[in-house]
């Protein structure tokens, strides 16, 4: 027992442990210590095996979510008060309060367990040892496994985009330049997408960055429901195994990813809108 304590450095005073921990995270590859669960694998190595799958889930579903949300927002924003607008707004609000994991369980139960259209768990079929989601040879199998988790993320998070996009569209469409565009005799589609939507898109960039923390949180839960081998599933296993070094490492990496993504979104915003200067 004493030897084990020494091996994990738990015999040192807390402040020495903490200083060492901080110093170690700055090295490359970052040293978060050794995982209890996957002993003797270092925490960083363990996380790096799971992270690509989460990035794949979050990345692809964010793109789909943004497109779906923006299109719905443009459509309902261009005819505020119409039946289509009221219907989409009400459904969006309902989906907005829906817990990610509950939606995941429902989809899992309908499409995987009852209808057998999609696999119940995992990221690839048994026998396929895809090391990362971009493995071209098995992309069909990988997409088949990723479909339900991604659908869950899209359905549960598109509402944030569509609700805001709708309101910005309503605002933009009452501007003078839209009247001008219509007076020029441009087709309605050009007015909507070429003029109004382009301007209404700007806040969406910030929103995508801000939403990322929310989507990552959702992805963690969805991975647990679908036993998808991403960092969420890893977090779940770390919680069950009381693997504190692994948990800290996960938290560190996830936070870093979200902060970095926000930074990129800000830079991108400045690039798209020359009025913004940092």
């Amino acid at each position: 027992m004493a030897a084990l304590r020494q091996r994990f450095g738990l015999d040192q005073p807390v402040w020495i442990q903490f200083t060492l921990y901080l110093a170690n995270t700055l090295s490359w590859p970052p040293n978060f210590g050794v995982s209890y669960l996957f002993y003797p694998t270092p925490v960083f190595t363990a996380i790096m095996q799971y992270l690509p799958w989460t990035l794949f889930l979050v990345g692809v579903s964010t793109v789909i979510t943004a497109i779906v949300g923006i299109l719905l927002g443009v459509w309902s924003g261009s005819r505020p008060g119409s039946k289509f607008d009221t219907a989409t707004m009400s459904i969006s609000m309902l989906l907005w309060t829906m817990p990610f994991f509950w939606l995941g369980i429902i989809l899992l139960w309908i499409f995987a367990i009852t209808l057998h259209w999609f696999p119940v768990s995992g990221a690839a079929s048994a026998g396929i040892t895809a090391s990362n989601p971009l493995d071209i040879t098995d992309s069909g199998d990988i997409l088949w496994h990723a479909f339900l988790p991604m659908m869950t993320l899209v359905i549960a998070s598109y509402a944030g985009y569509s609700l805001i996009m709708r309101n910005t569209m309503v605002g933009e469409l009452s501007q003078d330049y839209i009247l001008m565009a219509r007076a020029k005799g441009l087709r309605e589609r050009t007015v909507l997408f070429g003029h109004a939507a382009r301007n209404a898109m700007l806040p969406m960039i910030t929103l995508i960055g801000l939403n990322l923390g929310y989507v990552v949180s959702g992805a963690l839960l969805v991975e647990i429901v679908f036993s998808y081998p991403g960092v969420g599933y890893l977090t779940y296993r770390a919680v069950l195994a009381h693997d504190y070094p692994l948990l800290q490492g996960l938290f560190f990496i996830l936070s870093l990813t979200v902060v970095a993504a926000n930074y990129i979104a800000d830079l991108f915003y400045a690039f798209l809108d020359p009025r913004i200067k940092y």
Partner: protein
């Protein structure tokens, strides 16, 4: 038009009862309050209404009984009555939501008002702290805090409060920044009112609507967050709440075809969450007439 809305606003700020009745005139708010009243009555009167105890031993029915006359919502893997679990579970879920909203609004308001009122260094320090908590992904933050504090109801409340207050602080600060530049704040300062008096007598009453609208939203996110923590197993899994029901259902319900066990708690979470969102929207509608044209 402009003058009348301004007058109306001022009247609203000084007459809370009329403001509340104004909110209640909205169809959305009526639906929201209706749903909440329904679930509150269920929760408060649980021992009287509930057909069985959710902790009954031996369990009243056979495991995985489908919904029927004896068990309207079926039974779980132990044979416990799902309806009774829903009624009792609402107690925990709604109580956690309300307590978290109260605590988060308290912390968020204090931080936001101080930062907005004193500006400069205090603002910088408080807001950088707020931003850090705000930008961190909330669920991983909750998980790591809960993992260290150990699973219990207090942990869930504390963890949800920690992740909920920054949003309130941000909104309150920006509103305070605008309020402190208004003429009435200047005149109060000229008359010699202390900072404490200005904050409590002038700023807080004017902030009340925005704090209320946000607090109501926090209830929704806290109820969903509590369910998520319970679902991962970081809550107290021996207590019956809508979240722990889903925790056990995830493990046992699906492969035994017990869909009723999954549907019921999820629908309750969505309904109550939606109710609070509807109320929040109505509060904003009443106090921010600009939104009415949308």
């Amino acid at each position: 038009m402009q003058v009348t809305t301004q007058k109306k606003l001022r009247a609203l700020a000084s007459h809370w009862p009329s403001a509340i009745s104004e909110v209640l005139r909205h169809r959305r708010a009526q639906v929201g309050f209706g749903i909440i009243a329904f679930f509150t009555i269920l929760a408060v009167a649980a021992p009287a209404i509930s057909p069985y105890s959710p902790y009954a031993f031996p369990a009243p029915g056979v495991p995985y009984a489908s919904p029927g006359p004896r068990f309207p919502l079926g039974t779980d893997y132990l044979g416990e009555d799902i309806l009774s679990e829903i009624i009792y579970g609402g107690r925990v879920s709604i109580a956690v939501g309300l307590i978290v909203a109260l605590l988060a609004s308290l912390v968020g308001t204090v931080v936001g008002v101080l930062a907005g009122y004193y500006k400069r260094t205090i603002d910088e320090v408080l807001m950088r702290g707020t931003d850090i908590v705000l930008i961190l992904p909330s669920l991983p933050l909750m998980i790591i805090l809960a993992a260290y504090l150990g699973p219990s109801l207090q942990t869930v409340i504390l963890v949800l409060t920690v992740t909920s207050w920054p949003a309130v602080a941000r909104v309150v600060r920006s509103q305070t920044l605008s309020l402190r530049e208004r003429p009435f704040t200047d005149s109060a300062r000229v008359v010699g009112a202390s900072d404490f008096r200005i904050i409590t007598k002038l700023l807080l009453p004017n902030l009340a609507s925005i704090i209320a609208a946000n607090a109501v939203l926090v209830v929704t996110s806290a109820i969903v967050g509590e369910a998520a923590l319970d679902f991962i197993g970081l809550g107290d899994i021996t207590v019956v709440s809508w979240g722990t029901m889903l925790y056990w259902a995830q493990a046992y319900a699906l492969f035994n075809g017990a869909w009723w066990w999954v549907i019921a708690p999820g629908l309750c979470i969505i309904l109550v969450g939606l109710a609070f969102v509807l109320i929040s929207v109505s509060i904003e509608d009443v106090f921010n007439p600009k939104l009415r044209s949308l």
